[in-house]
Amino acid sequence: MSPRRTRVDRTRPPAATPPREFRFPPFYRCGIAPGLDAVIAPNGRGPLVNLQFLVPGGGAQRDEEGLSGLATLTASLLDRGTEQRGALEIAADVERLGAYLGASAGWDATAISLAVLSDYVPAALELLADVALGAVFPEPELERVRKERLADLLRRRDQPSALAEEQLARSIYGDGIYGRPILGDETSVERVTREAVRNFYRRHVAVSGATLLVVGDVDPDAIVDKARQAFAGWRPSEPEPVLRIEAPASRSLRAVVVDRPHAAQTELRLGHVGIPRRHPDFPAVTVMNSILGGKFTSRINLNLRERNGYTYGANSRFARRTGPGPFRIATAVATENAGDAVREVIGELRRLRAEPVEVEELEDARSYLLGLFLYGVQTVEGVAGRLEDLAVFSLPDDHLERYPEEILSVDRDSLLEAARSYLDPDRLTIVAVGPGDMLEPQLAEWSPARIDPGGEPVAPA
């Protein structure tokens, strides 16, 4: 190869070459046991496999009133003892394979996932089935996990971002399901009994409609046989009817200050109720949010960070949940800029509702979202995450194939319509976590209530 000395034109972006087509990797669905389907995406980019036992419909939305944290505690206990193995044996068997096992509950689902080298898939599958089917929730393990959770709750009070997120949810949803802390609080965690855990498992985890996700370097036929053997003992109960979560009554614009007198900075959140993931306008909302606060070059980030230097970064998000989850804007600002930052954010919301976005802005957002989609399928976890969405939100199997066209079909009119329907600057809750004495005067026009990090009211100094 001889160096070519052609002069390049640096004055404008070079033209792209023709794009290569991309399609989401193929996947197959088949029955493994009554009430249990497998979704298999053979994907040979490395000797890795991601296995996931996923139960949609359960999750923290099923926590009973007064027992917040039950779903997440149940999940934490799944790998702490089965009919065949004690907690440390499970850990030893998983880690001997070099595997990583995690059990967790979100709002909408409980999941047990295993990342493992492909050579060890049969053994990993057997372990996954043991944990999913055979969990026995030993009393001493519940006490252990309870103590760990109480320490975690104490620790969360130190974290300004965690305080801000929880306070925002509480302010938006009040006593509603999404207003409760997913990890529970001191009182509810103390109240959880082994009986409650076992009930939760029987009613919301060991139920029909679960999915076994297998993504990575596997032979689909061989894996189906193995999975049928491993899950032969699966005897699920019928799931409870789908939960309908209603949006809370909206309230007028107001502020809450969580007082941390020594804080070096202020964590800010602004938000209100959003829309369910399955809502037909969700694609329009996704593109709109990308422009508002979903990427580095979003309006809010460029405004607060690049124009004003108030912050290291700012972003916005519509939560993806089966019910109407929150829409929220998050940033951490120098405390003396908190009031101005809030005003700028509200101004951006009003602007997005007032006039259509620029054509280029729309095109940028759409191609960025499609780029992220491609970027995400590089990893087995990324592919599994997309397949998880199908199961959790009951989306059709061709959803992933249609995703690009759904995003591309969002135009300036539908985006403006989405902004007007789903952004409401007059119904925001503002949460500021920082030095109360400095924050209150700046937020005076939104009549802030002041509380301490434990949620108790504080009188201004």
């Binding site: 190869m1 000395r5 052609t6 002069r7 390049v8 640096r10 004055t11 972006p13 070079p14 033209a15 792209a16 070459t17 290569r20 991309f22 980019r45 490395g46 000797p47 890795l48 440390l88 850990a91 880690e95 070099g98 990583y100 990342a115 493992v116 252990r144 103590k147 320490a151 975690d152 104490l154 620790r155 009070r157 130190d158 974290q159 020594h262 900075q265 964590e267 990427k295 070059t297 460029l302 960070r305 690049e306 230097g309 912050t311 290291y312 951490a332 600002v333 120098a334 280029e360 095109e363 191609s367 960025y368 780029g371 992220l372 491609l374 970027y375 399928v377 590089q378 990893t379 087995v380």
Partner: protein, 406 residues
């Protein structure tokens, strides 16, 4: 320059390592390398401020940069038909940065970085611990003594002149490695890179970093109070550089001791005695020396002194008894899973290639890196603990909950 074709997805990673980081700074101007990284996103002669982000994102790409002790990296993963865009953007800021630099941009990014420091350090629970730990571990004049993000006063003091000098000293082709990974034709990629970067002139030789003689910290200890509810211990040792055989032994030992619920420290401190909420350890892959870090968070009712004593018992045992082969096998298997997991993305592969090339001039080491752990067993790990993880070589920072009324 390193090229690694992989056509499995229509993606290409463009990754640049500049061999400059916080170790190349001087006292009074700490944080300059990182602040400078921010300035590289503020446009260059042919690219307006923030257009770097805009062009990459509108092409469907993902991008960022980061600064560490020894290096600063800049990277984008793009749909592969936009390879040229990445080369144009990276070559423009390597060759044509200064005409676009203005005092206003610097002023703005100084504010942004000061807020970054508040967000990551000053307003984080335990945020100051790592800083103090390094100050105890590394003597005055050692370039790993100060934090990568820099001290607040130094960030505030950085001038346009500092930034320009930094660019002229460190930002030139002779101090950089370019890695291209993904859906590309190697010959075309080579030609394109030559076309965009070939005409950029080399800079002057990069000044060598002076390392102060390594006085041992001698079990230096400090107690910090912070707005936290749980006490936490930070123990650190300075070990041989990344690439040294001791480094791999330290990395493996760290994983044996604390990774996973089968590890001895987790089982003893978190599971059985329940005196810690968590325990973890790491060894940094840095070039002048490496820092071995052991961190444990106490339970609300635990006396931190008892926790330190328990950690000490484990360290003494690691130095005197051979670890069981099963424990080592487990850690090695986990390491392998993590390694393959890392290699899934073109971006991470490109970054590793840049690293191996910058530090060792051997990109091919990426293929044999995992094998280095196969030759290590009980005797090597015990020897490492006995020789290097000793009390006189370490520093300890204890973070305690702030007493009420303060």
């Amino acid at each position: 320059m390193v090229i690694h074709p992989d056509p499995s997805l229509p993606l290409v990673a463009v990754n640049l390592w500049y061999h400059v980081g916080s170790k190349n700074e001087r006292q009074g101007r700490t944080g300059l390398a990182h602040l400078f990284e921010h300035m590289l996103f503020q446009g260059s002669e042919h690219v307006a401020a923030n257009d770097h982000f805009r062009y990459v994102q509108q092409a469907g790409g993902v991008l960022n940069g980061s600064t560490w002790y020894d290096r600063t990296n800049y990277y984008e993963t793009l749909p592969s038909n936009h390879l040229r865009l990445g080369l144009w953007l990276e070559s423009d800021r390597m060759g044509f940065l200064l005409p676009a630099l203005t005092p206003e941009k610097l002023e703005n990014q100084r504010e942004v970085v000061m807020n970054e420091r508040r967000q990551r350090v000053d307003n984080q629970p335990y945020g100051r611990a790592m800083e103090r730990l390094h100050e105890l571990l590394y003597p005055e004049g050692h370039p790993y003594r100060w934090p990568v993000i820099g001290y607040m006063d130094d960030i505030a003091a950085a001038s346009l002149d500092d930034v320009e000098t930094f660019f002229r000293t460190f930002y030139a082709p002779n101090n950089a490695v370019l890695s291209l990974v993904g859906d590309l034709d190697p010959e075309v990629a080579m030609e394109e890179a030559e076309a965009w970067f070939g005409e950029l002139p080399a800079g002057p030789p990069v000044p060598e970093v002076q390392v102060a003689s390594a006085a041992l910290p001698g079990d230096a200890r400090e107690v910090l109070e912070d707005n936290v509810n749980l006490a936490r211990l930070y123990l650190a040792w300075s070990l041989p550089r990344f690439g040294h055989e001791d480094w791999y032994a330290a990395d493996l030992l760290s994983r044996v001791l604390t990774e996973g619920r089968s590890s001895p420290l987790y089982q003893d401190l978190v599971y059985r005695r329940q005196i810690a909420r968590d325990v973890s350890s790491f060894v940094f892959p840095t070039e002048l020396a490496s820092t071995f870090l052991l961190v444990a968070t106490a339970r609300p009712e635990t006396d931190p002194a008892a926790l330190l004593q328990a950690l000490d018992e484990h360290l003494v045992r690691a130095a005197s008894e051979e670890l069981p082969p099963d424990d080592i096998e487990r850690a090695r298997n986990r390491l392998l899973t993590g390694w393959y997991s890392d290699l899934q993305t073109v971006g991470r592969r490109a970054d590793l290639l840049s690293q191996m090339t910058t530090f060792f001039d051997q990109p091919e080491r990426i293929a044999t890196e995992a094998d280095r752990y196969r030759q290590l067993g009980g005797p090597e790990l015990r020897s490492l603990a006995r020789r290097l993880l000793t009390r006189d070589r370490r520093a300890v920072v204890t973070v305690l909950p702030r007493r009420r009324g303060q």
